[in-house]
């Protein structure tokens, strides 16, 4: 199941675990990323908490946790090479895997078509 948020994140949800990243639109708006900070595995976040930070040459931006849950894995590849977020934001440059506290919360997130309309 693929879902999106109004804060420009995507979630690929399988068996109650969401792989989370930022959308192509968000990556384009941020510009060339030079630094990524990811949460620690095992940490818990509520929806809307700042879970990660991305920095371009000019500015730092928060990446918000899209739903309540626990971080079960993070993607070291984007820490080692932040430019991966610009080149493959909706593929190899996922940020973290989130074990959802309430998997049914995802139903309220945006479908792909609705998200595309939002950024059109």
């Amino acid at each position: 199941m693929l879902k999106f948020t109004e804060e420009h994140e995507w979630l690929k949800i399988e068996a109650g675990v969401a792989t989370v990243g930022i959308t192509e639109h968000a990556a384009g708006q941020l510009g060339d990323l030079v630094f990524v900070e990811l949460p620690e595995t095992g940490s818990n976040f509520a929806k809307g908490d700042s879970a990660a930070t991305v920095e371009s040459v000019k500015a730092a931006s928060d990446v918000y946790c899209p739903l309540d849950g626990e971080i079960v894995e993070v993607n070291q590849a984007i820490v080692d090479d932040p430019s991966l977020v610009n080149s493959d934001p909706q593929g190899a440059a996922w940020f973290f895997k989130l074990k959802l506290a309430n998997p049914s919360d995802a139903d309220a997130l945006l479908e792909e078509a609705a998200y595309k309309e939002l950024v059109a």
Binding site: G31, V34, F35, E55, V57, K58, A59, A60
Partner: protein, 379 residues
């Protein structure tokens, strides 16, 4: 593209939109922060070829002595700036500062001797206040005019001289901080060999009616790309240059700001025209005794940028505050984070490790010499 009706536009505004710029408000103007290439590529292009910047938002001011003698204008301006203006030769430019009675900095500017008048370039955000200051201080002896009929562009980078040389062969005779008048495509421009990137380059004042034409022709050169405010900031930060409002302001003095070099000998203690500018007692006192804090370069040891506003500590637990970052970001040419800020006098030696507070962590940063990149001015 929508136009924000509350923002002013430079004569090149429509050109920026046609080039696909992302526009942002800056000092009351709608300005290009980046073009489709993005900040990283624009920065690097300027360091290896030539970047073209619209700086028409800055104030261009003429100070013309009523007596016809340039010395009178120079001496009048010296009452507002701690700079040797009298000693500035015709066709030469010099960096200057407007100071206040407390020794704080009201603005920084460029001062040129144009023979029968002085030509000043001041910051956009300060230009109205600067104009009032100049009128109040100089009107007895000088006519002060803000030019609203000229655009200003900067052409910066190692290929700038060759690009400009295709339009005006004599450009190679100019040295850093020389100013000359020249015809570019039959348009009379005022050209200075200076800039805000640490690179060799030029600033070109153009009559508004011809500004788009001259700019477009420069952009047609394969070595030239338009550069936005984003890369302008990362370029000047790597070059160790101050941004007024961030790194210097009314709460900082020239000595605290490590700008002693901007006060020539004639205005210092024992000089021919010692003092005589606002805040002279405090500023010359700091010259003699030192200031309690100083602007220094800061090199974060990790990859995380340390931004303006971050607090600095002597210890990794954030117990002993020693200063604050005033500008910081990522330096594309350094390939790492770079910053500058004010640090208490006991901690300013190069190599001193300090700790910057970033998102609740204390990240090690080293006090470092400025600039972070080698300046390539043609002296």
């Amino acid at each position: 593209m929508e136009n924000n009706p509350h923002l002013k536009q430079t004569p090149l505004h429509a050109l920026h939109l046609s080039l696909g710029a992302r526009m942002v408000p800056f000092a009351g103007y709608d300005m290009p922060v980046q073009y489709p290439d993005g900040v990283m590529k624009e920065h690097q292009h300027t360091r290896v070829a030539a970047g073209l910047f619209d700086v028409s938002h800055m104030g261009q001011v003429i100070v013309r002595p009523k007596s016809g003698k340039i010395e009178d204008a120079a001496l009048a301006l010296e009452k507002l700036v701690p700079v040797d203006v009298l000693g500035l030769a015709e066709g030469r430019q010099r960096y200057g500062l407007f100071t206040n009675a407390e020794g704080g900095i009201l603005d920084d500017l460029m001062i040129t001797n144009r023979g029968d008048h002085l030509f000043l370039v001041v910051n956009a955000a300060c230009k109205d206040a600067d104009f009032e200051l100049l009128k109040a201080g100089l009107s007895d002896t000088c006519d002060v005019t803000m030019l609203d009929d000229r655009a200003l562009i900067a052409l910066q980078g190692p290929h700038a001289e060759a690009v400009l040389g295709e339009l005006w062969a004599d450009v190679s005779a100019m040295r850093f901080m020389d100013v000359a008048e020249a015809d570019l495509h039959d348009v009379t421009c005022i050209i200075s060999r200076s800039g805000y990137t640490g690179e060799d380059g030029f600033e070109i004042s153009i009559p508004v009616a011809s500004a788009v034409d001259v700019t477009q022709r420069l952009l047609e050169h394969p070595d030239v790309k338009p550069i936005g405010l984003g890369a302008r900031d990362s370029l000047r930060l790597e070059a160790g240059l101050c941004l007024y409002g961030n790194d210097i302001d009314t709460t900082t003095t020239p000595v605290e700001g490590a700008l002693e070099w901007a006060l020539q000998k004639a205005r210092r203690a024992g000089g021919a025209r010692e003092g005589g500018f606002p805040g002279a007692d405090r500023i010359l006192g700091q010259f003699a005794a030192g200031a309690s804090r100083r602007r220094v370069g800061l090199k974060p040891e990790g990859r995380a940028p340390v931004r303006g506003g971050a607090n600095l500590f002597a210890d990794a637990d954030g117990k002993t505050p020693v200063g604050q970052v005033t500008s910081g970001g990522f330096g594309p040419s350094v390939d790492g984070p770079v910053a500058m800020g004010y640090v208490d006098a006991g901690h300013i030696e190069n190599g001193t490790t300090l700790f910057a507070e970033v998102r609740g962590k204390y990240l090690p940063v080293a006090v470092a010499a400025l600039p972070f990149v080698k300046q390539t001015y043609k002296r």
